[in-house]
């Protein structure tokens, strides 16, 4: 208890003197080991301290919004490209192009935000489920998968929304037919990404439609009986934007952090979590840019239609 009180007192004292040493505040969406490792390596390299607030993408955005009267964050890393699009549109991001962003594909960088890495959306199935291996999105509408499929809710998962947007952009009619077929096949939409994956791991369901691939690959590496399929007709990337908030009082340090995340060392840390590194010249520990068929679509145009797209999806799913 005494220790705690002392810690409280110290942290109070520190918070008022926080500006003494160069410190940046980073809000980051998971995975936690990655943001922790990035922060530590950055501190070791530059001597700049990182105060890390780590949560889910939705929570860091909610905290950022609530703090607007007295902004705290200097840099944010979200798991949803849409978050960056919104903030950019509102003029809340600092323009910066890192020198290390040269090898980041053009679709994954803008003048104000750039991808830290990306996940690809995939089909993940439990090999113990006794189901045939699916190869295409549409396979999951077949009777053999009836009552066996889950999907993350696009209203709760930014990556599931990106997949929905990508499939609709690729071929609208075909996409809605696909989702009607899935609905008819009793696909359930239990919540965000992990909520869709868990029943499959536990054997209550067999297949996830639209799994965040790096999470599934990581679990497979830990011994879960999961198999990950990237459909050959095309899938989408869900890039994870890193952005500097315009209100920052530590511009240079924030820029150095972005540089570091995009450096060889930073990108290797990203790759270690089975995330696709933003830079195409860094070796991925998973299917890379050349192994994936990617649906090329305009993220910003799709974002403008997002409300409509989600509503139509919810309608088809009977939600």
């Amino acid at each position: 208890m005494k220790k705690f009180v002392a810690a409280l007192a110290v942290s109070l004292a520190l918070s008022s003197a926080a500006n003494a040493a160069e410190t940046i505040v980073v809000y980051s969406a998971g995975p936690k080991p990655l943001s922790g490792a990035l922060a530590k390596a950055f501190e070791a390299k530059t001597g700049i301290q990182v105060k890390l607030f780590q949560s889910s993408a939705g929570k860091i955005m909610a905290r950022y919004q609530a703090e607007k009267a007295n902004p705290q964050a200097d840099v944010m890393i979200s798991a949803s490209w849409g978050h960056a699009i919104t903030l950019d549109k509102a003029g809340e991001l600092l323009a910066y192009t890192s020198k290390n962003a040269k090898n980041v594909p053009a679709s994954l960088k803008t003048g104000t935000y750039v991808a830290q890495g990306a996940s690809a959306l995939a089909i993940a199935y439990n090999t113990k489920s006794g189901l045939p291996a699916p190869h295409h999105w549409a396979d999951l509408t077949k009777p053999v998968y009836k009552d066996q499929v889950t999907m993350p809710d696009p209203a709760k998962s930014g990556s599931a929304l990106t997949l929905l947007e990508g499939l609709v952009a690729q071929n609208e009619t075909q996409a809605w037919t696909l989702f009607s077929g899935l609905a008819a096949n009793d696909m359930v939409i239990p919540g965000a990404n992990k909520a869709a994956l868990n029943p499959v791991l536990q054997g209550a369901k067999g297949v996830v439609f639209g799994a965040v691939d790096y999470i599934a690959i990581g679990l497979k590496a830990k011994g879960e009986t999961l198999e990950i399929v990237h459909p050959s007709e095309g899938t989408v990337l869900a890039p994870r934007p890193i952005m500097i908030i315009k209100s920052t009082k530590h511009q240079d340090a924030a820029k150095k952090f972005v540089d570091f995340v995009l450096s060889d060392a930073g990108q290797t840390l990203v790759a270690n979590r089975y995330i696709l590194p933003a830079r195409s010249d860094i070796q991925a520990k998973r299917p890379g840019y050349n192994d994936l068929t990617l649906i090329d679509f305009d993220y910003i145009a799709a974002a403008n239609q997002a409300v409509k797209t989600k509503a139509k999806f919810a309608h088809i799913m009977g939600k």
Binding site: M1, F4, A7, L8, S11, L12, S15, V25, G30, P31, K32, K51, F53, S55, S56, G58, K59, M61, A62, R63, Q65, A66, E67, K68, A69, N70, Q72, G82, H83, T86, N126, D153, A155, K156, G158, L161, V188, I189, P190, G191, K194, A195, N198, P199, L201, Q202, G203, A204, K205, I215, L219, K222, G223, E224, T225, L226, A306, K310, G318, K319
Partner: protein, 549 residues
């Protein structure tokens, strides 16, 4: 002199702890840009959010769920509490301790455990060959899960009243030929009714506010409630904080109506026990009755506590989730990772325990002062304080967290708890105050005013009355409420996630990260460890309490 000071003290404490964040939420609902300190576009968020046709369904669902859960919880709790009063002291204490455990299990984890147990290919099916998938993902399933989690609140409050009522009234009735059942319905039940209503109110409001279970189970059979709609505002892109505040208003209104209803009902059934007869012990139960009672308690304990806890324990020792129940899937990996590879686990447990202990001590102290002010002083305006004190229970933790950020993250404060661990303590005080306030005020209302009056006549002042008479008499219930606050605080999830200063983690935050990105099993392992540690501390507390007597 002392009375205005007490009133001032309790109202200012409540206003700072509860009033400020709630006011911030109200303002946010009206002024959608208040987070930027701007009053622009007032009311613009109100109509579009209220016009949503799905809202009516969600509101109706919330009410239906809360009523059903309260009813089922009462049906489980009241007979138990009645039997409890007949127990030998020792056995009774053991039962009390056992029914504290559900508070230690986060509802979110509890629901996940039920899923793991009952769903298709769940533990039950792997062992016994059948599943209760259909029941689990249905309205009745959800009500059962929630009622099993919340009934102890009613049990504790009513059991303490049954034991205060003692036997005298029943004996008198029996002398005049009253049957046991008649005695229960005509005497004990009406006397316990205020306590039942008051704890029922908490269960009702907690159900309305509960997020985890409706999110996990309800999503599977299409059962949106207001809180899940609010959370969608937090998670759906783009984040809509004003919208969430508007929806929180509905919850505040429901809480207000429920509170008013509760006030009316309890006025109608106001009873006080004029003469405490704690000494009049019940005769020991006959061996057969004893066996019956133990079977009932044991069975219920097995279902409500044993099954989910066992599931959590087994999950903690599973190597992989897909491996299921198999000997070769047993491993200490998750537990090892928790404590050896990852120092964050321990740190999180220590933070949570410390915060919970402080929260328990402070809430009970504040509650004692507030309750005395509200119940005994009869100054105008105390009713408002009473209502204010239940508000945090009606608002989702996320919204409370937003309210706290809006309040304390302002540059005009010279010193602010924001971005220090104090903000977590403040959040816990805000969220936990309703428990001791409800429990202690129920008990205080049952204590006759004549007790105070006698003291006043003998020249005592308010302070002496509080310290010398009320505190000793209310001590057991205060301690019980402190235990509950401690238990619930050790696992508080939502506000901790939003408010934890950078670098600080509580148990729930740790578990959340495990669920979000890592494995369910390590989250379960962390919960298990926390349940064991805080359960151990609670047991120790109970022993101390016994020793002090």
């Amino acid at each position: 002199m002392l009375r205005p000071a007490l009133f001032l003290l309790s109202s200012s404490t409540l206003i700072v702890i509860v009033g400020f964040p709630v006011l911030a939420i109200l303002l946010f609902a009206i002024f959608p840009h208040i987070n930027e300190l701007s009053l622009a576009a007032p009311l613009s968020a109100l109509l579009p959010n209220l016009a949503n046709e799905k809202l009516i369904e969600a509101t109706f669902n919330s009410l239906r769920l809360a009523l059903s859960v309260t009813l089922v919880a009462a049906i489980i709790a009241v007979p138990l509490a009645y039997m409890r009063a007949r127990f030998p002291d020792r056995l009774g204490k053991i039962c009390d301790a056992m029914f504290l455990i559900p508070f230690l299990i986060p509802p979110y984890i509890g629901s996940l455990a039920w899923m793991q147990l009952l769903q298709r290919n769940g533990f039950v099916e792997q062992i016994l060959g059948f599943n209760l998938n259909t029941f689990l993902y249905s309205f009745s399933g959800m009500v059962t899960v929630m009622a099993l989690h919340l009934f102890p609140l009613i049990y504790f409050t009513t059991a303490s009243v049954f034991s205060v009522i003692g036997r005298k009234y029943g004996d008198v009735a029996k002398v005049f030929g009253g049957h046991t059942i008649t005695v229960f319905w005509q005497i004990n039940f009406p006397m316990a009714l205020p306590a039942l209503l008051s704890s029922g109110l908490i269960v009702f409001i907690l159900t309305i506010e509960e997020f985890g279970t409706p999110e996990i189970l309800g999503a599977r059979f299409g059962f949106p409630v207001i809180v899940t709609s609010i959370h969608e505002k937090f998670s759906d892109w783009p984040i809509d904080l004003p919208g969430a505040s508007v929806l929180s208003l509905i919850l505040i209104i429901i809480a207000f109506v429920a509170y008013q209803g509760h006030q009316r009902l309890s006025k109608r059934f106001q009873t006080t026990i004029d003469n405490q007869s704690v000494e009049a012990k019940h005769p020991p139960l006959s061996p057969w009755a004893m066996v019956g009672v133990v079977v009932v308690f044991g069975g219920l304990f097995g279902i409500a506590v044993g099954l989910p806890l066992l599931t959590i324990a087994i999950s903690s020792f599973m190597d992989t989730l897909s491996g299921g129940l198999a000997w070769d899937n047993l491993s200490l990996r998750t537990l090892r990772e928790l404590f050896i590879l990852d120092g964050d686990g321990w740190a999180a447990i220590m933070t949570s325990l410390t915060l919970a202990a402080f929260a328990a001590i402070f809430t009970v102290m504040i509650a004692t002062v507030v309750v005395f002010t509200v119940v005994r002083l009869r100054i105008k305006g105390t009713g408002f304080l009473d209502f204010l004190s239940i508000l945090p229970n009606s608002i989702p933790g996320m919204a409370v967290a937003v309210g706290l950020i809006l309040t304390w993250n302002q540059s005009f404060w010279v010193v602010t708890p924001y971005n220090t661990p104090f903000i977590l303590l403040l959040a816990y005080l805000c969220l936990m105050l309703p428990y001791p306030i409800r429990m202690i005020s129920t008990a205080l209302k049952q204590l006759p005013q004549s007790l105070d009056d006698a003291a006043y006549i003998s020249g005592a002042n308010d302070l002496t009355v509080i310290l010398k008479i009320l505190v000793p008499l209310l001590w057991p219930i205060s301690l019980a409420s402190g235990f509950i606050v401690f238990a619930i605080s050790t696992r508080e999830l939502v506000s901790s996630i939003m408010l934890a200063p950078p670098g600080v983690e509580t148990v729930a935050v740790y578990v959340f990260h495990q669920f979000d990105q890592g494995s369910v099993n390590s989250g379960m392992a962390m919960s298990l460890v926390t349940i064991i540690i805080s359960g151990g501390l609670l047991a120790l507390g109970q022993r101390l309490k016994g020793a002090m007597k």
